[in-house]
Symmetry: none
Subunit: 238 residues, 2 copies
DNA sequence: AGAACGCTTTGACGGCCGTCGAAGCGTAAT
DNA sequence: ATTACGCTTCGACGGCCGTCAAAGCGTTCT
């Protein structure tokens, strides 16, 4: 009997899916897409540090394997996660993955990494540990509902007005939960998240680090967050 | 700038874990180990259709990567899943994996493991033909959603309460699809699967056969399954 | 003591696949 | 029309890794 090869005849090809994520570049793409947004092929190529041709072949594989879905608009190819199950798969992998304490090649790179983990832009809102702290504090104070369907409370609306955050009216949902790929928790997105982040920058409470997506909270910002949210942020390690 | 390679410096090495499962032989090993038992290296080699030396190197990788744990007893090397997270990872992969049509198994092989095929423990829940029958009946009665994203319906929650199954609250997903390596189909896992199985044993509806993973459904159990699910189980062939 | 068994090590072979540059194609901007 | 841009295709290179046979080591059986 060729029952000997039974293991290879299993009706499900696990390895085919795993192989899609077994490459560093493709894994990096998926980690980037964990933010739930749609990225263009070029953005992903740059993020992964590969040429466009390389990115194209990777993206073909990921789309063909059903992990990503694409939308063509003009000369752009937008890519996003196909399914909630894919999010969960990536999360499961991340849980078991070895954490490499990021090997700093230079001090500037190291501090930039630090800043990225601490606070950064995710689309148009705040991400990183600071974002999580802000969200937690807002939930704590009853400004946000953070159940299965996140929303802004009345107290939250009043608080925004008091702080001076104007939320532009749009069809965009007020509050959304965005998954953070460094912390693997959700932070505040949606119209409120965007407006709050704009205010942080406009009021000089946070500044962008160079041209990257990294942010630093200014001393003014720390004072303001403490005053309005009772938040005590540590000095960034420099 | 070397911000270009930002995606590669993320502190989590997803690809390292995925690479462990990206090989057909290693994937076959993991599918075999999905039954929660400890297999010897030789059993796995035979199951995967490779030589012992090949199996050794694969097992070293899987143990080194933290997916499996080993126990040495005399000249035997026993291997089993390291963690519940590993089970869930494999299940998650199986959900997304391409399905190949199952080719019919020979009668001799089919009758050989009749007892195991009928009902057995898979990790902490029920597996085998009985498990499939239970799952199918639950889906039939609208107690479970069994689409791409399996879930418990309201009727399902009510049914559990009526039957007397208490599902402990945890971060664990309520309902999961677990791949059955004998049937090549998915059965009920997750918190509900575990709780249901506990109840079967606690209520005397099923009993373990000796110290193995095999189960028999008691007459009481058959009556109960018929009453609650309209399930007509045949007498076990023995 | 001797034989059988389970597993590991070593070395060599072969194939798969990720990478790039260059050229090509279609869309959008000027 | 012309240019720029985003993406794809092609061909070639190179490295990684899964595979086996054979020899070796330690344990258990007779």
């Amino acid at each position: 009997m060729d029952d000997q090869r039974a293991g290879r005849d299993v009706g499900v090809d696990l390895a085919a899916v795993a192989r899609l994520l077994a490459d560093g570049t493709r894994a990096a793409f998926c980690l980037a897409l964990l933010d739930g947004r749609a990225w263009t092929a070029t953005e992903l190529a740059r993020y992964g540090g590969v040429t466009q041709s390389t990115a194209t072949s990777h993206l073909n594989l990921l789309v063909g394997g059903g992990l990503l879905v694409e939308e063509r608009h003009g000369r752009h190819r937008y890519l996003r996660m196909a399914d909630r199950r894919v999010f969960e798969l990536i999360e499961g992998l991340a849980e078991l993955a070895p954490r490499q304490p990021v090997r700093p090649r230079s001090l500037t790179v190291a501090s930039r990494q630090e800043a990225l983990l601490n606070a950064r832009l995710c689309y148009d809102h705040l991400a990183g540990t600071v974002a999580l702290a802000v969200k937690d504090a807002m939930v704590e104070r009853g400004l946000l509902d953070w159940g299965p369907e996140p929303g802004l409370t009345e107290a939250g609306a009043a608080w925004l007005a008091e702080v001076g955050v104007a939320v532009p009216a749009s069809r965009r949902p007020l509050v959304r939960a965005c998954l953070d790929w460094t912390e693997r928790r959700t932070h505040l997105a949606g119209a409120v998240g965007g407006a709050l982040c704009s205010h942080l920058l406009a009021a000089g409470w946070a500044k962008r680090v160079g041209t990257t997506r990294a942010l630093t909270v200014t001393p003014d910002g720390r004072r303001a967050l403490h005053a309005h949210l009772g938040l005590a942020l540590d000095e960034p390690i420099r």
